[in-house]
């Protein structure tokens, strides 16, 4: 049943990349438990506008858990307290009346803050551009059913391909590592026969780009898997390491 909450919000405010940020405290009242977390921020923002203050900037778009744009670090966890959901699918019934909620942006040197809770994740686009593809120009394809693919491999490739590129894995990791993100794409393509041809160069190029972007190393704590809203498995990291080392040993 719908209830209503009074909450204290501690939100990170930062004008732009160059200036330092700090927490500001806001009170919100009468928040319906049926609201999503972002709708609660909408309520706060419309009040701030009416009071003549600058609203809180945050990334969001589809609000149905698939575009990967929303990115709030809530009470010390990417996308908040529930497992397997993005911030837009987190609803206020997960909080208690009178609670204080702390909201921060993703924290990683490779994801600089643009404003308030908005960060720059273009490093992910560059990792994909380095090798996250199969080199097939439009029009070159054979008939789709000429290439049967083992169902288990196809299902595993799909599970890896479900990554939404939100960056929660980086935000969750104490080293700000992007291994889960990078490995998900390497795995998806390595599991498919179409992806085999470029497997070695792909793994090397994507890992090199990941390092160049300033993401940290993996120390196997598994926080990325635990916080991933799409349940991407850290088995992908093991597969990436195998791909990477076999590529390194066999490189000319």
């Amino acid at each position: 049943m719908e209830g209503h909450l009074n909450l204290t919000l501690k939100i990170w405010r930062q004008k732009n990349t160059q200036t330092a940020g700090k927490f500001e405290t806001y009170q919100v009242s009468g928040i319906s438990t049926d609201m999503s977390f972002l709708e609660m921020i909408d309520v706060l923002n419309n009040r701030l506008i009416e009071e003549g203050d600058d609203p809180v900037a945050f990334d969001h778009d589809c609000r149905e858990g698939i575009c990967g744009m929303c990115s709030m670090y809530i009470n010390g966890r990417p996308h908040g307290p529930n497992r397997g959901v993005t911030t837009c699918q987190l609803h206020m019934r997960s909080f208690k009346d009178g609670e204080t909620i702390t909201v921060e942006p993703w924290r990683a040197s490779a994801f600089p803050v643009i404003k308030d809770l908005v960060v720059n994740r273009s490093a992910f686009d560059r990792i994909i551009a380095a090798g996250g593809f199969i080199s097939v120009n439009t029009g070159n394809a054979q008939d789709a059913n000429n290439l049967p693919i083992n169902k288990d491999n196809a299902d595993d490739a799909f599970a890896a391909a479900a990554c939404i590129g939100c960056g929660a894995c980086v935000a969750a990791c104490k080293n700000a590592s992007a291994m889960l993100f990078t490995s998900a794409k390497i795995s998806q393509l390595a599991l498919l026969p179409q992806g085999q041809i470029e497997a070695a160069t792909r793994a090397q190029a994507m890992v090199a780009q990941m390092d160049e972007e300033g993401f940290g190393a993996c120390s196997n704590t598994g926080a990325c898997e635990a916080e991933c809203p799409k349940g991407i498995s850290i088995e992908n990291i093991a597969r990436m390491n195998r791909e990477y080392f076999s590529a390194t040993f066999s490189s000319k």
Partner: protein, 659 residues
């Protein structure tokens, strides 16, 4: 009256595209390197077009307002993508896909475009598989299919309930490959705010860098708008928060005709509105109607819980009204029937604006089936329930989870509450066979154009059209224009036309910032949405539309005198971005009502209450309205109608019946 020429190639329907491809002028590789193309939008249409054109050698610039091309709202498409592969040996063919699409569109789409769409549909699947898109497969390793509404074959390819995501990531990968190779220059967090025309031709755009607020001028020999639909004119829809009409509307005001703006698809199965705070609506896939039964109580204003209402006091109104198709009638019909029941006072839930989608019967049916499979001769009710729920979970688990997260109710135990919501817009920029608008050099692809779905789109056809346009149509048709542009050098963006266009954009932004009124942008957007939903939504009437046009005009004035935009013009300012979009929606909404008022018939998603049969079904008027309504912008609130007659030479027009 400006003549609109659809440029449909002569010849037999089935040979038009083949002949066109063999005769369209070509651009040689060295000339391609000096021709620049601007692509606005990075969804299925934009990403596939940009990647394919860059592969051909053109210099491409891609713009998207999101932080990455991968966020475009194509990502949220759930169900699947149609293709006439006939892998199931069930009688599918190019002609059948063509026929189903024309009929599904209630005979208001252009034959030649739809046939071409059906012809290239198979190549899309081939291309996507080659890219590594992980479609669902059978144990033999071959691709799996399922069926969707409005068809009698299984031609839908899918990747669980995330088909749009997987197809978009495939196109995004192809795009990023070209970015990495330096063939595409990517501009994220950039919003197109005008088209620049020089001597009547599209020659570039003005874009705003959302982070710095800086305005930029970009030249292109051609400009492709792949900017999606305008469902957010209704405020609440299944579209993403940022989905908007601005690029298409700016093009319209620069001379591109807007076609069939009133054709809107209201999807029957969405999670209903829970309160005034709601910012968007969430779709529950059409596939749920395969097994779920839709009902309302027989008693008006029944306040009992669903599970307390006995079987003989439930009205399965779709099964009652449409025995032949039952719960699987097309989207427009299912939506209208739900509205009719709720308006009559039989709705459920706290708002009374919802109907039940019930899985109880399916759970028992599947449970008994499992018991038979496992040779259990006298299973207990509990065993049946548990086995039945397991089957439903395997088929629809992710949708049930999503429903539970949003509503806090468990759909395995109580029926889902659903209600129709705005989902897709069939209308869009008018384009000819080459996908060119009425402005030379300006193209519209995907949902942004009007061309393929008539008055109602069939499920799993939006993904097909977006990728057809981008991968397989525009790479050919753009040659017809660019072959004559090889002598046009890249133009300086310091010319008067560019400078003036930028100044007009800057003036408008400054005007918005300086209103300093009292109401946030959302206030106006919600009011517009309510007018549109009440009077230009599932049911429209002459009286209501006329009143709405006046109301919208008044709201436009109020917006331009009382909107309050915080922050600065030269910094990240989401409210300023929203304000510009809502200002454009306010003008589009007016045109939608004008278009709906002009069309004195009911067809597909356009239902005029004055034009219905005795049983409340849509009544078309093929004598008078078998045309595309292409609207030309003259000045504020003044639009001129141009008609493109629709000729059906290969299909016999008939009234749709689902009884």
């Amino acid at each position: 009256m400006t003549k609109i020429d659809a440029k449909i190639p002569v010849g037999n329907l089935a040979e038009k595209w083949t002949k066109f491809k063999s005769s369209v002028p070509l651009v040689n590789p060295s000339n391609k390197r000096s021709l620049e193309i601007i692509v606005v939008g990075s969804g299925l249409a934009g990403a596939s077009a940009a990647a394919s054109l860059a592969e051909l050698g053109y210099k491409v610039k891609v713009f998207c307002f999101q932080d990455s091309p991968r966020r475009a709202h194509s990502i949220a498409a759930q169900g699947g993508i149609n293709a006439a592969k006939n892998y199931q040996n069930d009688g599918d063919s190019v002609y059948r896909l063509f026929y189903d699409t024309i009929k599904g569109g209630d005979y208001r789409a252009r034959e030649a475009n739809v046939h071409r769409l059906a012809e290239v549909s198979g190549s899309i699947i081939d291309q996507c598989v080659a890219q590594g898109v992980p479609f669902a497969r059978e144990y033999g390793g071959l691709l799996s299919n399922r069926s969707f509404g409005g068809t009698q074959v299984q031609r839908t390819f899918y990747a669980a309930g995330q088909t749009g995501q997987q197809l978009l990531l495939g196109a995004y990968s192809a795009l990023q490959r070209q970015v990495g190779m330096g063939n595409v220059e990517l501009f994220t967090r950039h919003e197109m705010l005008d088209v620049v025309t020089i001597d009547g031709k599209a020659r570039g755009i003005i874009a705003r860098d959302s982070v710095s607020g800086a305005l930029e001028r970009h030249f292109g020999h051609a400009v492709l708008l792949c900017t999606g639909g305008y469902g957010n004119v209704f405020y609440l829809s299944t579209n993403a928060m940022g989905s908007n009409v601005t690029a298409a509307w700016k093009a319209h005001k620069k001379g591109a005709f807007f076609a069939n703006p009133c054709y809107t698809q209201i999807h029957p199965t969405c999670i209903p509105v829970s309160g005034d705070h709601q910012s968007k609506l969430t779709l529950m896939s059409e596939s749920l109607r395969n097994d779920g039964r839709i009902w309302v109580p027989k008693k008006e204003n029944d306040t009992r819980k669903a599970n307390e209402i006995p079987e003989d006091e439930r009205d399965y109104y779709l099964e009652r009204r449409y025995p032949a198709f039952g719960n699987l009638v097309p989207r427009d019909i299912a939506s209208r029937a739900a509205k009719e029941r709720c308006d009559a006072g039989f709705g459920v839930g706290s708002s009374k604006m919802a109907v039940y989608l019930d899985y109880a019967a399916a759970i028992i049916r599947y449970g008994k089936g499992e018991a038979n499979k496992h040779n259990m001769h006298s299973p207990t009710d509990e065993e049946i329930q548990s086995m039945g729920k397991a089957v439903v979970k395997e088929k629809y688990g992710n949708l049930f989870d999503m429903y539970k997260q949003i509503t806090g109710e468990d759909p395995y135990e109580v029926p889902m509450r659903i209600y129709p919501a705005v989902h897709y817009t069939m209308g869009g920029l008018w384009v000819d066979y080459n996908l060119m608008t009425t402005v030379p050099g300006l193209y519209a692809l995907g949902e942004a154009n009007f061309s393929d779905h008539g008055a109602n789109r069939l499920g799993a056809s939006a993904l097909m059209q977006g990728l057809a346009d981008g991968y397989f149509v525009i790479p050919y048709t753009i040659g017809a224009y660019l072959a004559a542009e090889i002598r046009t050098p890249s133009m300086s963006t310091d010319s008067e036309d560019f400078v003036n266009a930028e100044k007009a954009v800057r003036d408008r932004l400054e005007t918005l910032m300086n209103i300093k009124g009292s109401k946030p942008v959302d206030y106006f957007h919600k009011r517009l949405g309510k007018i549109m939903w009440d009077e230009c939504g599932m049911a429209r009437s002459e009286k209501g539309l006329k009143a709405s046009i006046k109301e919208i005009q008044a709201l436009q004035k109020e917006f331009w005198s009382d909107v309050k935009i915080p922050g600065e013009i030269d910094n990240l300012n989401p409210e300023l971005e929203k304000a510009g979009r809502v200002a454009d929606f306010l003008e589009l909404g007016e045109l939608m009502c004008i278009d709906a008022l002009d069309r004195n018939e009911s067809c597909g998603g356009h239902f005029r209450t004055e034009f219905q049969t005795e049983d409340g079904e849509a009544l078309r008027d093929d004598e008078k309205y078998a045309y595309v309504a292409a609207w030309e912008y003259e000045k504020q609130s003044i639009f001129k109608l141009h008609k493109e007659e629709l000729k059906y030479e290969n299909i016999k027009i008939a009234q749709r019946s689902y009884k």
